[in-house]
């Protein structure tokens, strides 16, 4: 079935041949450019540099980064932000449940402690728990997920089942069960809390890492690396992991916020940090009883907690948008 080329298809009312004009555009208006010339006008721009450029313009990023810096500063140097010593000895029962007064801008708790000071000094424990839990979760979950995703086979099958098993116990639930054990009831410190949270928090990071690694490991550049002699493990470390980082970073940032909440929730339930340690969760729990008469001692730690968590989640959101692979492809 060879179509004739120069004659037009005959239609009902035009049996004669039609002439199709040969049109040529003006050369000056349609200049020919060199094929595939390298653009040399801009400075080199890696993906991270490009992401950073996009990130800097986002208001979400700027606000959250600023807030996080403030929170970190407060947790490192609380003394700079609050002249008052919040330790129990300095509390004066006489001020009990007092409203805002000179020297006590946010009022006083039932024990007579200054709310503002407790909020400031309580920052450190929450941030510490959040930070170290995230580090622990990244190490354990990251390694497990990367190995499972990269090597596949029975390694993946086993790790996936282990992952599922731990996933079946939600964070708070698992923490509650662990906390009621005698060895944990006896000594509750920030570190035991970190340990417990890491135990139940690693599955999520493992899952994300595994997914990211599986996506990257089949890329041509990994095969190219193997075919020039890079070892299997070398390819994992030098090519697969750096390219899997983006989703891991996003989840890690958001998880930091989640772990801070978890610490507060557990403290609120009375099974988190011991009452001797100053934390927002403990303060909220203590202030529950007098909620109706004096909501301030509950409100301010709650606000501080919310702002901190919110800034981490906003940061994670901004990072996710900036590192979105769909935005990367040109």
């Amino acid at each position: 079935m060879t179509p004739d080329s120069n004659t037009a298809r005959p239609d009902a009312s035009a049996p004669a041949t039609r002439h199709i004009e040969h049109f040529v555009a003006d050369f000056s208006e349609t200049p020919l450019q060199a094929t595939d010339k390298v653009k040399e006008d801009q400075a080199p721009l890696s993906l991270w540099a490009e992401a950073w450029r996009n990130l800097r313009k986002q208001p979400l990023f700027l606000i959250s980064a600023f807030l996080i810096l403030v929170v970190v500063a407060v947790s490192l140097f609380p003394g700079l932000f609050s002249p008052i010593d919040p330790s129990p000895e300095a509390c004066q029962l006489g001020n009990s449940d007092g409203g805002p007064a000179a020297g006590h801008p946010l009022g006083s708790t039932q024990q007579g402690c200054d709310v503002y000071a407790r909020v400031i000094f309580g920052t450190r424990s929450s941030v510490t728990v959040g930070l170290f839990t995230t580090i622990g979760v990244l190490l354990i979950g990251g390694i497990m997920g990367a190995l499972a995703g990269y090597y596949g086979g029975w390694v993946d099958a086993v790790l996936a089942r282990v992952n599922d098993i731990f996933f079946a116990l939600p964070l708070i639930l698992g923490a509650i069960v662990l906390m009621q054990l005698p060895m944990f009831r006896a000594n509750r410190t920030a570190w035991t809390l970190v340990l417990i949270l890491v135990t139940f928090g690693w599955p999520q990071i493992a899952r994300i890492t595994r997914g990211a690694v599986i996506e990257v490991r089949n890329a041509d550049f990994v095969t190219a690396a193997r075919s020039l002699g890079v070892s299997k493990f070398g390819a994992l470390m030098r090519h697969v992991m750096p390219n899997s980082l983006a989703p891991i970073i996003v989840v890690a940032t958001i998880s930091l916020g989640t772990f801070i909440v978890a610490e507060s929730t557990l403290s609120f339930l009375g099974i988190g940090l011991p009452p001797s340690v100053m934390s927002w969760g403990n303060d909220i729990q203590a202030a529950q009883a007098s909620l109706r008469s004096n909501p301030m001692p509950l409100l301010y730690p709650a606000i501080a907690l919310s702002i901190t968590v919110l800034s981490f989640i906003m940061l994670g959101d901004a990072l996710r948008d900036a590192l979105d692979p769909k935005a990367r492809k040109r």
Partner: protein, 309 residues
């Protein structure tokens, strides 16, 4: 399709066994005399302790203990709690309450999350979308117990629109406010998930082809965009049911709902090991079943999955 379901079910079994084994191990086998631990801070009553030892087969090797324990789960013979009540009866009281709460929260988050997410996605970049994005971020960021207190205080106490605490009957009407609080975090998540899904599908090739066929915009949105966008959302909702039930502890605490979370919390504080383990085991079972449900839903929604390999 049948192979798919069977495979998923078989994969469930080791997970269930593993999780319950883990819990049992954590509660009963870590160092320290578990029976002493069962008494918590109270003085040890030797007669009761001996009775408990036989009841929990602690003279037997660990594996036998665990197997007997599993048997007791499936025969609903879970022993007694510290006030002498059969644990099975206790569970029978508290689980329906929490189930009611969780289902209500699920309905709330599903209906509003999907609707708002759909509209936000269709009108990406406009005012509604921007507002909804910020609001959802705030809701996700503020911890549930803060929100709980806030709502309890404003709506319950100050405005008096709802009862601040729930009665022991825990009627559906009582549970409206707690259900909203419980579902708020997931609502924000469902909203964002729907929105992202809709945005992605809006620019899909097959949507363009559908429009090229001459279909009305309404039909394109309903039949092509929405239907495909719902796949990840519905699978999330299925999984969320399990985690709502397990995560209602704080909400039940704030509103004094006589449900699973509340009972579990009290059991933990008073060191009632057997009750804790039983409740957690049932929750794990529910989680596994809701995961299976999700897998089935996913196969129903996405025909590509039904034909494995």
């Amino acid at each position: 399709m049948a192979t798919y379901i069977l495979k998923r079910f078989l994969q469930l079994i080791p997970v269930f066994l593993g999780a319950t084994l883990l819990v049992y191990f954590l509660v009963f086998s870590l160092p320290g005399d578990p029976i002493v631990a069962l008494f918590g801070d109270k003085p040890v009553n030797e007669a009761v302790a001996a009775k408990l030892r036989t009841q929990y087969h602690l003279d037997q090797p660990f594996w036998i203990q665990y197997l007997l324990y599993l048997k007791s789960i499936f025969t609903f013979d879970l022993g007694q709690d510290f006030s002498g009540r059969p644990i099975a009866a206790v569970l029978g009281e508290v689980f329906p309450v929490t189930a009611r709460l969780a289902v209500m929260a699920l309905i709330f988050e599903a209906v509003f999350g999907i609707i708002f997410g759909l509209v936000a996605g269709l009108r990406k970049g406009k005012i509604f979308d921007a507002t909804v994005l910020v609001a959802s971020l705030v809701v996700i960021g503020i911890p549930i117990f803060v929100l709980g207190f806030l709502l309890q205080f404003t709506i319950g106490v100050q405005l008096g629109w709802a009862k601040p605490t729930v009665s022991s009957a825990a009627t559906v009407q009582d549970l409206i406010l707690p259900a909203i609080v419980l579902g708020l975090g997931s609502f924000a998540y469902v909203l964002r998930l729907t929105r992202t899904s809709v945005i992605e599908n809006m620019s899909a090739d097959y949507v363009r082809t559908a429009t090229a066929k001459g279909l009305s915009r309404f039909r394109v949105v309903r039949v092509h965009i929405l239907r495909n966008s719902l796949i990840p959302v519905i699978t999330f909702l299925g999984a969320d049911l399990g985690s709502l039930m397990g995560g209602a502890i704080v909400t039940e605490g704030i509103f004094n709902v006589p449900g699973v979370g509340n009972r579990l919390y009290r059991a933990v504080l008073s060191g009632e090991g057997p009750t804790v383990v039983s409740i957690v085991t049932v929750l794990v079972l529910i989680y596994c079943l809701s995961n299976l449900l999700v897998d089935l839903l996913y196969a129903w929604l996405d025909p590509r999955i039904r034909y494995d390999s």
